[in-house]
């Protein structure tokens, strides 16, 4: 009995010693020679658990295979990249790369890595991890979605280790957005993943059910617990490489818990009830509901203005088989006329859409670049108000007339009747379509709204081309024009309205192709901006798609959340999770 007691004392002593040293309970002070990054901003208080939400379980924790937003959101907190785009400033900045230097021809980048920093499992980070990571992402057999981003003019970028903390990247051609290319390319721990890669199983590691000890990264947090369908809990990475202006190691929070809340309405109710600390992507109606109750509640709401999302109506301009799809083929004669598309654009009451659908928390659009994209917006693009008279005149100029009963007919006497696909799960887009339908009926057009399940709608747009018009939204992950190349150039994988168009069908499309391709190699911002301004002018003038509206980014947080600086890009509210903190009274109570 005595012996047992003595042994117990020893164990308690060992345990207490270990706990005192345990990184999860105490933040480690930066070591000498550790190249930490000092971040400006509000000094926070250490401790506490922040509760956020996801609409669905993440599918994986593997940065190499993740494509869904929820997985990427979690991975963004578990791992880090060399150069990171700051969502707030929209500019690139140092991350794991301490500094970098471009060669005069813009083809070679020498990157100095941070020395002495460690992965979340305590293993040191060095150039081998960088070379390994890029090798994995660029491996064709791995099928990583990042591979396309790491190609310049169709050639993959070359990575060479110059030393333990130095790496060189060689590009086939000068690339304007080379720095931004590194954003979201998460650095992988070679010591944990080399074996899986050698065995050809890299895509199968770090599944969502993986043990926390098997997953490590360079992000501010590391995996603690996952309960399927309920929650995922991340804890502080004790080796994180950022410190605040007082030299305290970040992050401030002990934990972030993501509750799985399947719908926005449920999320709003739980936020209002105080179960959730931060909320993003709130619809305008729910924002109004929260705003209505804000006085009695302890939370703040922010309308950040337009994000990077643009919603647009487009017509099927693909080359379709006249025998197989005769109706669509016949109607394409209308859709291909710029005057027809211009008339549709002129007839749409964008202000009404902003007011009725978004309760004035959206911005009307006439081209694809939203005012949220401060660096690349062309403010000279005209914003003509709705004009049925102008729309009618445009239609008359290309042979459309109205019958006695007001129905619009083309020069051959065919009634102008077409359908617009919408997905009913997106209520805001369905409402936009209903308003557009009513607007176009003022011109005598017979428009049918076709609600289709999202996958069925995508199958028609991408595979069978069996549709006449569709309403969709796109959102770029970056403010830079480069990710938009796929959308606006012929042959692009998301050139939605004319996926079969491998060569430009019109002069203006040829000009867009040329501008979009040449701007990638222009290293001067002003010159690139001029090229992209012209693209926006062409889009507004020839209306390949009818841009309609950009919803505002609406977010909220409890008043007890400190360091809350939401941005219109990336993870709106958790992009600076390493600097978020809970004010003392709450941290103590949790």
């Amino acid at each position: 009995m005595r012996l047992r007691s003595k042994r117990g004392c020893i164990w308690i002593w060992i345990l207490s010693f270990w706990l005192a040293d345990a990184p999860s309970l105490a933040a480690r002070a930066p070591e000498a020679g550790e190249d930490v990054l000092t971040t400006p901003g509000q000094l926070g208080q250490r401790g506490g658990r922040l509760v956020a939400s996801l609409h669905s379980d993440p599918k994986t924790l593997n940065p190499v295979t993740a494509v869904d937003a929820y997985s990427r959101q979690i991975i963004g907190l578990l791992s880090a990249d060399l150069i990171h785009i700051n969502p707030f400033t929209q500019r690139s900045g140092a991350a794991l790369a301490k500094s970098w230097k471009a060669s005069s021809d813009g083809k070679h980048y020498t990157v100095e890595l941070r020395r002495g920093i460690r992965f979340s499992d305590g293993y040191p980070f060095n150039a081998d991890d960088v070379v390994f990571s890029f090798k994995v992402y660029l491996d064709e057999k791995v099928h990583s979605p990042q591979r396309d981003l790491l190609e310049v003019q169709g050639k993959p970028i070359q990575v060479t280790k110059l030393g333990p903390d130095r790496v060189e990247f060689d590009l086939a051609e000068p690339y304007a957005a080379a720095e931004r290319m590194f954003d979201s390319v998460k650095i992988l721990p070679q010591h944990l993943l080399q074996r899986a890669y050698d065995e050809g199983k890299i895509s199968q590691v770090w599944e969502i059910g993986s043990k926390p000890s098997e997953v490590a990264g360079l992000g501010p947090f590391r995996l603690k617990q996952y309960v399927p369908g309920q929650q995922i809990i991340l804890e502080r990475n004790p080796y994180y490489w950022k410190v605040d202006s007082s030299g305290n190691r970040l992050p401030y929070l002990d934990e972030i818990a993501f509750l799985i809340v399947p719908t926005e309405d449920a999320e709003v109710i739980r936020f209002e009830a105080g179960d959730i600390d931060v909320i993003s992507r709130i619809g305008a109606d729910n924002y109004a509901a929260l705003e209505r109750d804000q006085r009695a509640a302890a939370y703040q709401l922010q309308d950040l203005g337009p994000g990077l999302e643009y919603n647009f109506l487009f017509f099927n301009l693909n080359s379709v088989d006249a025998q197989k799809l005769p109706e669509i083929h016949r109607k394409q004669e209308w859709f291909r006329k710029p005057e027809f598309r211009q008339a549709v654009s002129a007839a749409i009451d964008r202000d009404a859409i902003v007011r009725l659908v978004y309760r004035s928390r959206a911005t009307p659009l006439w081209d694809h670049v939203t005012p949220g994209n401060r660096m690349w917006l062309n403010t000279a693009v005209p914003h003509p108000p709705q004009s049925l008279a102008r729309a009618s005149a445009l239609l008359r100029s290309v042979g459309f007339t109205r019958r006695r009963d007001g129905i619009l007919i083309d020069a051959r006497g065919h009634v102008v009747e077409f359908s617009i696909l919408t997905n009913p799960s997106n209520t805001q887009r369905t409402k936009i379509a209903t308003i557009i339908q009513d607007d176009l009926s003022q011109l005598g057009m017979q428009v049918h709204l076709v609600p289709l399940e999202f996958q069925a709608m995508m199958a028609r747009i991408f595979d069978s081309y069996e549709y006449e018009g569709a309403l969709l939204g796109l959102m770029s992950g970056d403010a830079d024009p480069n990710p938009e190349i796929n959308v606006w150039t012929s042959g692009g994988t998301t050139h939605l309205w004319a996926l079969t168009e491998k060569e430009p069908a019109t002069d203006w499309q040829a000009e867009i192709n040329n501008l979009m391709r040449t701007q990638t190699a222009i290293l001067n911002y002003q010159e690139r901006k001029r090229a992209y301004d012209r693209v926006q002018e062409l889009v507004a003038q020839f209306v390949p798609v009818v841009c309609v509206v950009s919803p505002h980014v609406l977010v909220g947080a409890k008043n007890t959340v400190g360091g809350f600086e939401p941005a219109v890009m990336g993870d709106y509210v958790l992009w600076n999770a390493d600097q978020l903190f809970l004010r003392r009274s709450v941290a103590a109570s949790r």
Binding site: D265, G283, R292, D349, E417, T434, L449
Partner: protein
């Protein structure tokens, strides 16, 4: 035979409800598809008898509604009684475009000016909810009635064949009925919708809806009718008729169908509300008649939104109207079951 007071009351009440729905063009004050974008989601209009100075008016009037948009977004609408319009009976509404009157219609009531009488407020596009409720009833009640007709018609034919002929024919039809009973309606409609051309107008979508609901719903009544026929065909007068060489068609027409009619009537009273609910469900999910044509289901769809659910009580109207209608139909079915003499049905 029909002496039950409850039955008569239910039937008359149902007819009375159907009258404004059938005559929606006259009873509804406005076009249900016209959007008044300045006053989206407005509450029901107040009818005034006294003006701001307290003077009494024999002819009631309504005030103008104005939308409030501030820097923090759209903030709903408010009443402005500096402009008013009086209520009138038998008003004429005109649709004008290109400077010409293209459509003109007379309505039971309305106003004599630009201000509108919005008895049940407006929806999120500013459309008159009361007019949409009446026109939407044409879709929802019509779908219920027509789908029931189709379902019972098919059920009667298959039930008669199965029950009267028996043997392998009975087996085949009943197995098919079981298969149909197991069909998930919603997925079937999704599938049918995905295969059909996209340009379905409201009428075609309505027919499709009735077709799917009616053709998948025949199984249950057919089993019931078959059961009755199995019982009836063993009765002495049917056996005697057969013995005298009367044709099968004559036996069915003269001796069997009259006995089945009571079951069919009761089934109709039970199926109509079920099928109304089916239409409402489909339209709620966006699978019914498409915008801008109203249906009670599509009107309810806005209630999926938490804000609308908590702030716009007037949008519940199309859901609330279902309650008395269902009550009356079930009351009618109950009365029919009690009033008419029904054979011992197979358990």
């Amino acid at each position: 035979m029909i002496r039950n007071k409850k039955l008569v009351v239910s039937a008359i009440a149902l007819v009375l409800i159907q009258i404004p729905v059938i005559g929606a063009g006259f009873f509804a004050p406005y076009d249900p598809t016209v959007q008044n974008r300045d006053v989206p989601s407005s509450p029901p209009t107040s009818v005034h008898f006294a003006d701001s100075r307290g003077r009494f008016h024999f002819r009631p009037f309504v005030c103008r509604w104005i939308g409030n948009t501030s820097s923090s977004g759209y903030q709903g609408s408010h009443e402005d009684c500096s402009k008013t319009s009086s209520l009138r009976f038998f008003v004429r509404n005109e649709t004008v475009y290109d400077g010409q009157v293209r459509k003109s219609s007379r309505h039971l009531f309305g106003t004599d000016g630009a201000e509108k009488l919005l008895l049940l407020g407006t929806d999120e596009y500013g459309r008159d909810q009361f007019s949409r409720l009446l026109y939407g009833g044409q879709t929802s009640l019509g779908a219920g009635l027509l789908a029931t007709g189709l379902s019972l018609g098919l059920g009667l034919v298959f039930g008669c064949i199965a029950g009267y002929l028996g043997s392998w024919v009975d087996d085949v039809i009943m197995r098919a009925a079981e298969l149909f009973m197991a069909l998930p309606w919603i997925y079937l409609l999704f599938a049918v919708r995905a295969f059909l051309p996209l340009n379905l107008d409201a009428r075609q979508a309505f027919i499709l809806l009735i077709g799917v609901i009616g053709s998948t719903g025949w199984a249950r009544p057919s089993r019931l009718i078959r059961g009755v026929i199995l019982s009836v065909k063993q009765r002495a007068y049917v056996l005697a008729a057969r013995g005298f060489g009367v044709s099968s068609m004559s036996i069915i027409r003269r001796h069997i169908l009259p006995e089945v009619s009571s079951v069919v009537l009761t089934q109709a009273a039970l199926l109509i509300p079920q099928y109304i609910l089916a239409e409402v469900t489909f339209s709620f999910l966006g699978l019914g008649v498409s915008e801008p044509q109203p249906s009670w289901g599509s009107m309810l769809a806005s209630l999926q939104n938490y804000y609308v659910l908590t702030a716009h009580w007037w949008t519940f109207a199309s859901g609330l109207v279902l309650v008395p209608i269902f009550f009356l139909f079930y009351s009618l079915a109950d009365s029919l079951q009690r009033s008419v003499q029904i054979f011992d049905l197979p358990k």
